[in-house]
Amino acid sequence: MATTTVEGLKSAASARATFWARLRQGLGIVFESRVATVGLAIALFWLLIAFVSLFWTPYPPNAQMFGQNLPPNSVNWLGTDHMGRDLVSRLMAGTQVILLKTRVPVGDKTIPIPVGVALWGVIGSLAFGTLLGVNAAYRGGTTDQVSMQVLDALIAFPQIVLYLVVISALGQGDLVVILAITVTGAPGVARLARSLTLDIKTRDYVRAAETRGESKWFIMLREILPNARGPLLVDAMLRVGYAIFAIGTLGFLGIGLPPPDPDWGSMVNEARRYIFSSPWSVIWPSLAIASLVISLNLFADGLREELARYQK
């Protein structure tokens, strides 16, 4: 038994080494592409802002302590909104609900849990969609037809309509937004997972596993899934962008993440009425959301292109 432990440690060590090697290799790929580098830089900038905002913002983001609708000045670098709140502080704090925390109601209190709404939504659709897609493609036949039919029905909903329906049925809340993102994202993930699986399942190593009499779940999870991981993760990166896009839109429509924490889409929505007199409070959150979504798209796009070239 002693030998196995030593070997176990060794293989763990080598796994760790390969993790760092892979990370270095991965970053190498990213930096090959200017597009991906720019995207990553902007995205990391916002992530950094999010972490900083947990501990420090210039002023409390919800405090109505300044004049209303002020243009940018030396006190309020980006100006103030219609309630006299500092825009820099609100923009900074607005990253939290997207990227860093999710507010879960427990009893009559809400408890923040780590990881933002956008990320949970994507994780949800990734888990749900992958499982559905891999299962449908590997089993084929009726399972495939039924799964695809259900997905077709989900895809047939225009996304915003589905959001409207889900939210008008279940009410507002972080969890409802996560659910909505999961439900709207899952069909796309499932289709991708399905097409990847249809390809992978023809490979001989899957045949080999079958001739060993492995269970279907073993084959799906251990033989197929690891090889579909790459494209699924790149796709997930894009989906984080879409999710932020969607959260922004929901906020703009007034049915997104609930107050009191600031959220970019809602900021635009509230300030929209004053656009003729004071456009600043509309411009900043709009720019913020566009830059974050675009950066994630650039990153995923560049990465995909480089990976394709790398694999050639």
Binding site: D152, G248, V282
Partner: protein
């Protein structure tokens, strides 16, 4: 090919059914007590219960789904001793349910425990007259009568005295002493083109929806017409020049355009063209229903906003497809055959490269509809999207269901068209 088409068609029908089930149960079962919202918090529970009954909400959920989808008229036909007729009200233009009785169109109400018939006059109003009706005995030994009441319900009255009911009308909420004991709201059902009444406005959803649909089709159609040729052209240009500066410019610009949410694009367009330059109206105020025909300028900013997002998406799809096709062995064959570049691109690559985008574009129509909702809200454009939005915010699920089903129908129908186009373009399926 027959297999392919029939599969698409069945799949479409099943999809619509699944969607309708999801939509109905999510909304009707998921929503809370709608009467609270309609009648306000100052009403009593008894009043709300009575109103729920009139809306048919006391019926089991599955039955209400059937009502909604397939209508109730055929269900109550055997209870009523006379045939049902739908006529349009000359004042409002809305359809109304009447019973045909001895050459007259009638409805009923109860006074002093006896039925009164309301005979329809040519101007649409009703003339109350006493009438002898045939009472039947129900399982509890009560003398009952089924007829149509004046609010488009099939209703059951008990001989000798009705229940106290509460009726909502334009003027307010009033008490009626001798009301029916049971209601079945009359409707023809969604599949026969009748989505029922709006809970918020009490008017038929269909009549409110149609002008909205027209406005939206104009908006989306205009965007579509701008986007398609432009996006395909840009995509092909970028794809053929893969890696060159032109491709870079088109690719990055279109990525920026797709990744920017519609409301951001819309806000900036309003700021630039509506507020700073003052070239175009910043909001689409419809003073008359036909305002867009009188002042097409109203359309420009909404169409531009929709275009920005779609253009990027379709151009990127087309580019990707073009790049893929240009790397195919048969393109190599064409080049080695000494075909001029123009011919390689136009005759050999184009058809194959456009196959994928066309299906995807058609699938993407529901994304366009999503964009329509946002754009209509930004510009206050009275279309389908704004209708759904307003109805959803209010919780008028009858209206949401109808409008959502309509959007789904549009999405599914365009997908079917996309399938057909693909079949036509791809000889491998056409001649399979």
């Amino acid at each position: 090919m027959a297999r392919f088409l029939i599969r698409s068609l069945t799949s479409t029908i099943v999809t619509m059914l699944l969607v309708s089930i999801t939509l109905f149960f999510l909304l009707e079962v998921g929503s809370g007590d709608i009467t609270l919202k309609l009648l306000g918090v100052f009403t009593t529970e008894a009043q709300r219960a009575s109103y729920r009954k009139q809306l048919g909400l006391d019926r089991p959920a599955w039955l209400r789904y059937v009502d909604w989808l397939a209508g109730t008229d055929w269900q109550v036909a055997k209870l009523l001793d006379r045939p049902l007729v739908v006529v349009s009200n000359p004042q409002t233009g809305e359809p109304e349910w009447w019973m045909s009785m001895d050459g007259e169109l009638v409805r009923f109400k109860m006074e002093n425990g006896e039925m009164i018939k309301l005979v329809r006059l040519p101007n649409g109003s009703a003339d109350p007259q006493p009438v002898e009706v045939t009472w039947t005995t129900d399982e509890f030994g009560n003398q009952v009568f089924w007829g149509v009441d004046s609010r488009n319900n099939a209703a059951k009255w008990v001989h000798g005295g009705g229940e106290v009911i509460y009726v909502r009308s334009k003027t307010g909420f009033s008490q009626v002493p001798e009301g029916p004991v049971e209601y079945v709201p009359l409707r023809r059902g969604l599949i026969r083109g009748d989505p029922g009444f709006s809970l918020q406005f009490g008017r038929p959803v269909a009549t409110m929806l149609l002008p909205r649909l027209r406005n939206t089709l104009i908006l989306a159609g205009a965007a579509f017409l701008v986007v398609m040729p432009l996006a395909l052209l840009l995509g092909v240009l970028a794809g053929v020049n893969e890696g060159k500066p032109l491709d870079r410019i088109i690719s990055i610009t279109s990525l920026g355009a797709t990744a920017t949410p519609e409301f951001v694009t819309g806000i900036f367009l309003i700021l630039i063209f509506g507020i700073w330059l003052k070239w175009l109206p910043a909001v689409a105020v419809f003073l008359t229903p036909n305002a867009i025909f009188d002042n097409p300028k109203l359309l420009i900013l909404p169409v531009l906003t929709l275009t920005a997002v779609e253009l990027g998406y379709v151009a990127r799809m087309t580019r990707a497809s073009m790049v893929e096709v240009m790397s195919m062995a048969y393109i190599r064959t064409a080049i080695i055959k000494g075909m001029p570049r123009r011919r390689v691109v136009l005759n050999h690559a184009m058809r194959n490269a456009l196959m994928a985008p066309i299906t995807i574009i058609m699938l993407h129509v529901n994304w366009l509809i999503g964009g329509v909702v946002v754009v209509e809200v930004i510009f206050g454009y009275p279309g389908l999207g704004k209708y759904i939005y307003d109805a959803a915010i209010f919780g008028d699920y009858n209206a949401v269901e109808a409008a959502a089903m309509l959007t789904v129908l549009i999405a599914v129908a365009t997908r079917l068209i996309g399938d057909l186009a693909y079949t036509y373009l791809n000889p491998r399926i056409r001649y399979a």
